[in-house]
């Protein structure tokens, strides 16, 4: 039964001024979705071999726009916008000073985004979203990317300031779960993005400006992947926030365990960072022992992932049984399948089962040779990021945007949102499925269409590349649908009150122990693991540095 306290909490509204800051981020995110998605469509069409880009536009230019806008800009903006709203909702309205810091960060990020985008559009930076040296972009691109990172730190500081204020005002109490999760994600983000900041500021900017002739490619890639893997978790943890905290409320259930959720987030903090070598398993110049060590640490992430799976299933089963579901799986049918706020993220959760299985294969040291640099990897992260994370974000947008704009999701829009997710899942199954299969047949990622001189093997890839184009086209229809719904929620939906759902912890759950929020313990372990995994190999890399490389522009 809903208590009066719970009822009062249901109507807690994010302050309008905080909402404006959150919405500013969300606007940029959806603009990035449109442009980046359009470039994705162009890519799959080119790779089918049936389409040539007009007006001298390059394939790698389009690929860079797609990767940067969707992998870095859409995600970072949506996440920071969502987190601002989440902090404001659960820890209280930001102070004027905190909000000002948030706006400064937003504009620094946006200045960086615009600068980097202009360089890519001018074909001065077709270096893909990983911007691997020795491919060399215009220095303004690197400065732009550095500003995006620095701006995100500033927005993060605004959120951390609120959390610190809450902790001071409520000594000895665990912070609101959603706020706690936001801070774990930000701690991970700040620690990991230091790596890419060092790469960009100390290696790539001086090199692209001509201050130094050569760059240490091995070190630059290592610094990138020190950032690149936790980046994946920076995308994923906000999706987990929705799953752990928001979904239980939407389905009318309870959070299975506050302590389990916190433990799982802290384990993600520990095991997301010291694992970048699993992206470099074929990299010469890193001793096999250190690769093995980081593979072991990577596999540790299975623990919090399965804790999450268990917690979600338990929440669903308890609620489904409460609603009269019987037998082993009768509870499943009782879940609110006609509510887009649940169904859309649920499809994302389901996609995480094959996505996670693929991830374990990728990270299995020698077995990585099976899929390394093949389009299997592209298929993999289109399941993790472009299905699991993105569908969860869409599902969240369907209550977050109307909550912030003072509107409501109509029945028609709710229905369209479910159709959108089905379209998305269908298109992605075709596209990502084809990528997985043809990747195992050796088709490379990151490459323009080619018949490779009429080679037999490359001819066998073509039907799968056409399948990718079919799937990609269906996905683009999915993008148009979601943009239609978002535009409706921003400007046209009927005025009204929409709840920002925040789940309550089950009355059967154990009390949360305070050590789960002892940052001294967790940050110490986190930094110790990073030092353990990286100190010796990075020292060896610098000590026995390979010859530096001059910059190349192949486009």
């Amino acid at each position: 039964m809903t208590t009066i306290k719970e009822k009062a909490q249901d109507f807690v509204r994010v302050d309008r001024r905080d909402g404006k800051l959150a919405l500013a981020h969300i606007y940029v995110a959806f603009i990035a979705l449109f442009i980046g998605g359009l470039c994705g469509l162009l890519q799959v069409l080119v790779r089918s071999g049936q389409f040539t880009l007009p007006w001298g536009i390059g394939y790698y230019q389009v690929l860079t726009i797609h990767g940067v806008l969707l992998g870095l800009i859409l995600t970072t903006y949506f996440i920071l916008g969502f987190q601002i709203a989440a902090i404001s909702r659960t820890s209280g309205t930001l102070t004027d000073k905190q909000r000002l810091v948030g706006w400064i960060g937003f504009w620094v990020m946006t200045a960086g985004t615009v600068a980097a985008s202009i360089m890519v559009l001018l074909n001065e930076a077709s270096v893909l979203y990983t911007f691997y040296a020795p491919l060399q972009a215009h220095w303004i691109f690197y400065v732009g990317m550095a500003l995006v990172v620095v701006g995100s730190w500033i927005v993060a500081i605004a959120q951390i300031m609120k959390y610190v204020e809450w902790r001071k005002a409520n000594p000895g109490q665990p912070s609101p779960l959603l706020s706690f999760m936001v801070i774990v994600n930000l701690a991970m983000w700040i620690i990991c993005s230091l790596g890419v900041a060092v790469e960009v500021v100390f290696q790539l900017i001086p090199w692209s400006l001509g201050w130094v002739d050569k760059v240490d490619v091995l070190l630059s890639r290592t610094l990138f992947w020190y950032f690149g893997h936790p980046l994946v978790y920076f995308w994923l943890l906000p999706a987990y926030m929705v799953w752990y905290v928001i979904i239980p409320k939407i389905i009318g259930g309870k959070i299975f365990s506050d302590a389990l959720a916190r433990l799982s987030f802290m384990l993600f903090l520990l095991f997301s960072i010291p694992v970048g070598f699993h992206h470099q398993l074929t990299e010469p110049g890193i001793d096999s022992f250190w690769k093995f060590l980081q593979v072991v640490l990577t596999m540790m992430v299975v623990i919090p992932s399965l804790l999450t799976a268990f917690s979600m299933f338990a929440t669903f089963e308890l609620r489904g049984r409460q609603l009269g579901g019987r037998g082993l799986f009768g509870w499943f049918k009782k879940l609110p399948w006609n509510d887009a706020r649940f169904t859309v993220p649920f499809i994302g959760m389901a996609a995480f089962i094959p996505a996670g299985a693929g991830g374990i294969i990728n990270a299995s040291h020698q077995m990585n040779a099976l899929i390394h640099n093949t389009i299997w990897v592209t298929g993999h992260f289109h399941l993790t990021l472009a299905t699991t994370v993105v569908l969860t974000f869409f599902g969240a947008a369907y209550w977050l945007i109307p909550h912030l704009t003072g509107r409501v999701l109509t029945k028609q829009m709710n229905k369209l949102a479910i159709i959108q997710a089905i379209v998305w899942a269908f298109g992605m199954s075709i596209m990502s499925g084809a990528m997985h299969v043809v990747g195992l047949m050796g088709a490379p990622r990151r490459s323009d269409f080619s018949t490779y001189g009429g080679a037999q093997q490359a001819t066998e890839w073509i039907p799968y590349q056409i399948a990718q184009a079919v799937g990609g086209t269906i996905l683009f229809i999915g993008i148009i649908l979601v943009l239609y719904i978002v535009a409706n929620l921003l400007w046209f939906a009927p005025k009204g009150e929409t709840e920002f759902p925040v789940g309550e912890v089950s009355e059967n759950a154990e009390k949360t122990p305070m050590w789960l929020e002892n940052w001294k313990i967790w940050l110490t372990i986190c930094i110790a693991l990073i030092l353990f995994a990286y100190t010796v190999p990075v020292f060896e890399m610098i000590q026995n540095a390979p010859p530096g490389s001059k910059g190349y522009k192949f486009w």
Partner: protein
């Protein structure tokens, strides 16, 4: 604990579901492993 409460906290479906996820991971991993052994 009352009988009703015991029934409420029946998590058998969860056990099987998580078991399915684990089994799916193992099966796909061994399929990839077999392919790896076959090729390298």
């Amino acid at each position: 604990m009352s009988k009703k409460k015991e029934k409420d906290s029946d998590l058998k479906g969860t056990l099987y579901s998580v078991g399915f996820v684990g089994a799916f991971i193992l099966v796909t991993w061994f399929l990839a492993f077999y392919l790896f052994i076959d090729r390298f």
